[in-house]
């Protein structure tokens, strides 16, 4: 998990260069939070599956399914989704 978060921290430095600084910082924070939540929330019921297993479009549908089953707060699911789709 530490590796995943570190990778996100390093990679998120090259987030969309056109985004304003504040927005870029928020996106970076969301990714870090998503990596953290992904490793715990998903493992609570089953092994966490890496983002590379599905395309962003598939994750859009799968995270809605998981949101239903887990009832997790919407902002947490958005962070996990951003993390899963990051790097595609």
């Amino acid at each position: 998990m530490i590796i995943a978060i570190s990778a996100v921290v390093l990679a998120s430095g090259s987030l969309i260069p056109t985004a304003p600084a504040a927005e870029q910082a928020a996106q970076r924070q969301q990714l870090i939070e998503g990596a953290h939540l992904w490793s715990i929330y998903c493992n609570q019921c089953h092994n966490a599956r890496p983002g590379s297993e599905f395309s962003p479009a598939q994750w859009d549908a799968i995270t809605m399914h998981m949101k239903t089953l887990s009832n997790m707060p919407a902002k947490d699911m958005r962070a996990i989704k951003a993390f899963l789709e990051f790097g595609h």
């Binding site: 969309i16 939070e33 953290h36 939540l37 715990i40 929330y41 493992n43 609570q44 019921c45 089953h46 092994n47 966490a48 599956r49 890496p50 297993e53 599905f54 479009a57 598939q58 859009d60 549908a61 799968i62 809605m64 399914h65 949101k67 239903t68 089953l69 887990s70 009832n71 997790m72 707060p73 919407a74 902002k75 947490d76």
Partner: protein, 508 residues
Amino acid sequence: MKLKSGQKPHRRRTAGAFILSVSIPLFGGLASTADVAGVEPLRTVQQQIDKIKNDEAAEHRRLQQDERVIQQLEQQLRQQQSRPGALAIQADAVDVTELKADTAQLQQIQKQLTTSISDEQFGSAMSRYLGAHQFTWNGAVAGSFIYDRGNNTNTFALTFEPLVLYRLNDWISFEGELEAALPQGTDAKFGLPIAMFQLFLNDYLQLNAGLFDQPFGDWYEAQSTLWVNRFITAPLLYGAEAIVPSSELGLQLRGGLQWGALGQDIDYTTWVANGPGFDSALPQPVVGQTLNPVNNIQVNTNGKAFGTRIRFYPFPLDSNLGRLELGASTYDGKWLNGNWFKSWGVDYAYLNGNLQTRGEYAQTYRQMPAGAGADNRQGWYLQLGYFLQSIALPQLPLELDRHIHNLELLARYSGVNQHAVVADEISNVPELGSSGSTSIFAPHSREIALGIDYWIEPSIVWQTELDIELPRAGGTLFSFNGARSPTASPIGATSNDHAILTQLAIGF
């Protein structure tokens, strides 16, 4: 070659002129003699001279003809010698033209890439290509081998559960699951466990409508999927003698929110549905009869059931205390006209690093008709698992070490208490998720399950499970055996049993 071929005719002409020049003076000297000897010899000489001239002329024509042929051949030779060079030049010209075209095309592509297509634009183009509506398949498949010592049965089994997910937009989606299994016999059986529309009304409220897994406890919704269940079988209270139905047809409202720091959440699910139903194949209701997995069309307006489930997460993620979930569920409705079915349960799940544990206790009350005694049931399970991925084994070979790190060791204890079971409903046929052991159908069934999971991928697992059935004595056995009323007989001690199951489950 040119010079040699030209020398020979020249020498012939020289020789001919020499003969002629010598012959004329000779013949001139002979003429004076002819005056003496006669005219006839001179005529003969003249004929010879004419013949020589004719021969010389013919020779001259042949020489000219040969020279023309030689010139033609020499010209053809020059053409042949010059042709490969021309072809090469022509080929080079074609290559240069194609290269220029390729270069121009490459430059155009590079220009497009560098100047006009950004990541966002490419993503947008891909999104347009894929379309706004998203449709994807997930699900699971599992194949297993089951051996039960008590029944002396062994068999292979297979189940396939594709899950269809359809996302219209950010707030509307649909999911449906099909189930295909191969029961005893020669044909497949199919089921429809889930078919549900989902409306995400806001961050805290979601409306679902359709056929859904019973949100009672964690088992049906979160743990029953083939590759998610750490074991091959279900805990007894959700197995062959389940104490709450597995599916419902109705409406749900659900959502969750963070009440404290990150990780401190609370969520809820509340639903109204057709409610519970019991085995309608029996001639009359009886204590201990099994629940229907779902009730379809229900015209009895009193039959609706209401359920609520709340989960609470006390620990913030940063506390490093792990993730603890505490849950409580209720499910109440009328199963037969005015007869109540009431249930409640509490559960927990805890995850901390490689350790995961979960457990549940639930009990139900069923009001029987005609003043018969209540049909009460209780069930529970406690499960523990430990992943060996961080165990240091430096003394082992690297390859063996890697395999051991993929293992998860598991133990589970589960049980059910109920007043009676119905002989007509007891099935000794093993199927995927059940060993078919007769001991499972005891009114006071107890089971210890030990398992080893080998995780090939996060969603692909090879599981092996040993079930030790330790039923307790007591309870009643009802048997219809074709009659309209059951006969009751007490159940004494029930034999212990062992079963071994192994399964490959793939989540996709």
